[in-house]
């Protein structure tokens, strides 16, 4: 076959493509089916959140954070609100902290369910696991609706506490959810983990070594799948995480399957956390009285929480006015895409899609 000349083909994957999870563009060069080069191109969903934040008061910015990682608004709220509280030195009542942790963990489950569902969709499973995941996610969204009336863009948290106390129905619904959820997870894992095709497609594909992961600043489940023990909930406990007992799932190989499995195990841990919170929570106030226009003293702060996608940090600079001088977001989705080119090289087209899916990025957060 020496006489046949071949040449690499460049394909624009996106910005409109069914598996790029939004408007993500990837310029890929193929040699046949193999990827020679890949260049991610961002910015199609840029809304200037950070700049907008500079002209909003501290309470108003909460709504902007909803729209960053739009499948995990609660975690964004928590990250932002705790940064403001550190900046302005606001104390948070204990009940509010518990409610915050419960809702953040519920949001983590919802986000991981979506990541798993879409990973399987990228594998070509015709939306069946996806609908199963969405069925459970729907119940969590119902709980959020009880909390604050919204389902996606929640804006539930405020500097100094939460918007309102959880109603009575919330607690009973939460109890049934926690009782049901392990069975749901068993069902989902039965569909996925024992499937020969899923295993042969995901095991050993898209390996991210631990050193590479640390060098690129990866965080969250992607980092832990690469067998790095790092979780902000344990490493620098915020809210009331130091009172709770839970484990951190650590992967072994850092391949696509490990990234899935770490997420699956994290959902079980989140259930553990929530059930402990329900036992520990006591009656009390849910919000410290703060002025409507918070004027933090001059200074700067970096505060991060462990979001579903990774370390979600806010770097806030205050000049003493009602709006932040600078509000920089450390978006885990964006930083987790750093090693993408290296992860993709040498794999086939089908692998590319599931590697993208297993990284679990949300374009709202990548572009902000």
């Amino acid at each position: 076959m020496a006489g046949i000349r071949t040449e690499p083909v460049t394909i624009n994957l996106g910005p409109q493509h069914p598996s790029t999870h939004g408007v993500f563009r990837l310029r890929v060069t193929f040699d046949g089916e193999e990827i020679v080069d890949a260049e991610p191109i961002f910015g199609y969903l840029h809304r200037g959140t950070e700049k907008l934040a500079e002209s909003r008061s501290y309470v108003q910015i909460v709504t902007l954070t909803d729209r960053m990682d739009y499948v995990a608004s609660m975690s964004n709220n928590l990250a932002y609100v705790s940064a403001v509280e550190k900046l302005a030195d606001i104390k948070v009542p204990e009940r509010a902290q518990y409610i915050r942790v419960i809702s953040a963990e519920l949001q983590r489950i919802a986000s991981h369910l979506m990541a798993t569902g879409f990973l399987l969709n990228d594998l070509g499973a015709l939306a069946t696991p996806l609908t199963y995941c969405f069925r459970e996610r729907e119940r969590i969204l119902d709980l959020f609706e009880m909390l604050c009336g919204a389902r996606i863009t929640l804006s539930y948290m405020r500097p100094g506490g939460v918007l309102q106390d959880a109603p009575e129905e919330f607690w009973s619904a939460l109890d049934t959810l926690i009782a049901d959820f392990p069975h749901y997870l068993d069902e989902l894992e039965g569909l996925i983990t024992s499937n020969e095709i899923v295993l042969s497609r995901t095991i050993g594909v898209g390996i991210l070594s631990d050193t590479k992961a640390i060098d690129c600043g990866i965080s969250g489940p992607n980092l832990r799948a690469s067998s790095v023990k790092w979780d902000l909930r344990k490493a620098a406990p915020y809210e009331i995480y130091d009172r709770l007992e839970f484990d951190i799932p650590i992967g072994a190989n850092g391949d696509t399957f490990d990234r899935y499995q770490v997420r699956a195990l994290e959902m079980r841990e989140s259930i553990k956390i929530i059930s402990q919170c329900i036992k520990q929570i006591e009656k009390g106030p849910i919000r410290t009285e703060t002025p409507y226009f918070i004027r933090p003293p001059k200074g700067e702060i970096y505060s991060a929480v462990e979001g579903p996608k990774g370390e979600l940090g806010f770097y806030m600079v205050s000049d003493g006015s009602i709006a932040p001088y600078r509000c920089k977001v450390r978006a885990p989705s964006y930083i987790n895409l750093t090693p993408l080119t290296d992860m993709l090289k040498g794999w086939k087209m089908g692998d590319m899609i599931i590697i993208l899916g297993s990284i679990d990025f949300v374009l709202g957060e990548v572009d902000r």
Binding site: G124, A225, A235, A252, L265, M349
Partner: protein, 406 residues
């Protein structure tokens, strides 16, 4: 088997036309006229039956998969949403019929027709009742194998003609995969032919004193896997691969051209299921309280349901995995199955019998089931995921990097 519903074949219809023409005083020696009329009537019936049953099949598929996915499925147009397919087709016809500027016009236009023609042709030799539409074609199954191989050309035409990189990727995959899987499919059929001793579909059906799925499970396995790949459905849907290629070879198609591609694509499972029914499930055989045609349809839709079940549950394999599965496993299994059937047939017919009796087939079935289970078990352990024997993510309380807090 019994067949109370009158079935008109091609030649009866031709004679009918001949007598009709002669009764109104036309010269009956113009044979092309009444053969032509008969052919036109038969093709009218076949095409319309197939289009209508495909419309029903699309509804069935969408409803079934919706049930698998905890959804309701189409339920707005007509009773139980039965007319959804018609609404879809009307919409597709009313859409603008676009063609990319750089596309190869004739190839692009002809591709849908080339894709749907063989699918309809196959229908003419499948025996729904005692006979097929074309009477009993004596090379029935060979005709099917030959005609289905046009598919790969059509898909490549569609991909090449669109001048779209995604379409070409899909078409290249399609060409490689469809040609590879034709071989295991033909080998799977060969084992049936060894016992039936005839290529005619009706003869194959009659020779099934015991259904061939019982007699040769390995052959059934090889055939059905290859057939799923031939119509490129999950887990082998590399040609379309929505999540990878957008829509694969039909990315650039719209309007009526897309509707025709869509029709051909959704007709394939119906055709495949009816071939499976004829080859392995005894065709129209059944109990006497229902006519043969009803049994045929019931069996066909059972096979269709199993295919849908697979489709709703399984993810897609990667292209290199698909190719190695065809050549390394399926091909070998098929050859082994032929060898097994041939040896058994030779031993059982040593006494000079020309064909196998019922007990003979039961003996063969017993041996083959044992062999099949052993082989599949061994293969599963050889190629299956031993890889899972590795450290899984361990919940670890030691994730704390900060010694003071620990």
């Amino acid at each position: 088997m019994i067949n109370p519903i009158m079935f008109i074949g091609f030649y009866q219809l031709a004679e009918l036309y001949q007598s009709m023409l002669s009764s109104i005083g036309l010269n009956t020696s113009v044979s092309w006229l009444y053969y032509g009329l008969a052919a036109a009537s038969i093709s009218f019936i076949v095409i319309n039956t197939m289009v209508l049953s495909t419309a029903f099949y699309v509804w069935f598929e969408r409803r079934t998969i919706a049930r698998f996915q905890v959804r309701r499925g189409p339920n707005r147009h007509g009773p139980f949403g039965l007319f959804q397919s018609f609404a879809d087709v009307i919409k597709a016809i009313m859409k603008e019929n676009t063609m990319p500027t750089e596309a190869d016009g004739p190839v692009f236009t002809v591709a849908p027709i080339v894709l749907i023609a063989p699918t309809l042709l196959i229908m003419s030799v499948i025996p729904f009742g005692e006979k097929s539409f074309l009477g009993s074609l004596n090379i029935g199954i060979l005709f099917i194998v030959g005609v289905t191989s046009i598919n790969s050309i059509a898909i490549f035409m569609a991909g090449w003609g669109s001048r779209n990189k995604y379409a070409i990727l899909g078409a290249m995959r399609g060409a490689a995969m469809l040609i590879s899987y034709e071989i295991p499919m033909a080998i799977g059929i060969t084992s049936v032919l060894l016992i039936s001793g005839s290529l005619a579909m009706t003869a194959i059906e009659e020779s099934q004193k015991i259904w061939f799925i019982v007699v040769m499970p390995l052959g059934f396995f090889v055939f059905i896997v290859a057939a799923i790949a031939e119509m490129s459905r999950t887990p082998f849907d590399q040609i379309e691969a929505e999540s990878e290629l957008g829509s694969g070879y039909n990315t650039e198609y719209s309007g009526i051209k897309f509707a025709v591609l869509f029709l051909a694509e959704f007709m394939a499972p119906l055709i495949t299921s009816s071939i499976v029914t004829t080859l392995f499930l005894g065709g129209t055989q059944g109990f006497d309280f229902l006519p043969g045609q009803i049994w045929f349809i019931l069996k066909t839709f059972t096979v269709v349901f199993i295919l849908l079940w697979l489709r709703a549950t399984w993810p897609r394999l990667r292209i290199d995995q698909i190719m190695s599965f065809a050549w390394k496993i399926l091909f070998g299994l098929g050859i082994f199955n032929i060898f097994l059937i041939a040896v058994e047939y030779t031993i059982l017919t040593e006494s000079g019998k020309s064909e196998l009796s019922k007990p003979d087939m039961l003996i063969m079935g017993a041996i083959n089931w044992i062999v099949t289970i052993i082989i599949l078990f061994v293969l599963m352990n050889l190629f299956g995921n031993k890889k899972l024997n590795r450290p899984t993510p361990i919940p670890s309380p030691l994730a704390n990097m900060n010694p003071e807090v620990d």
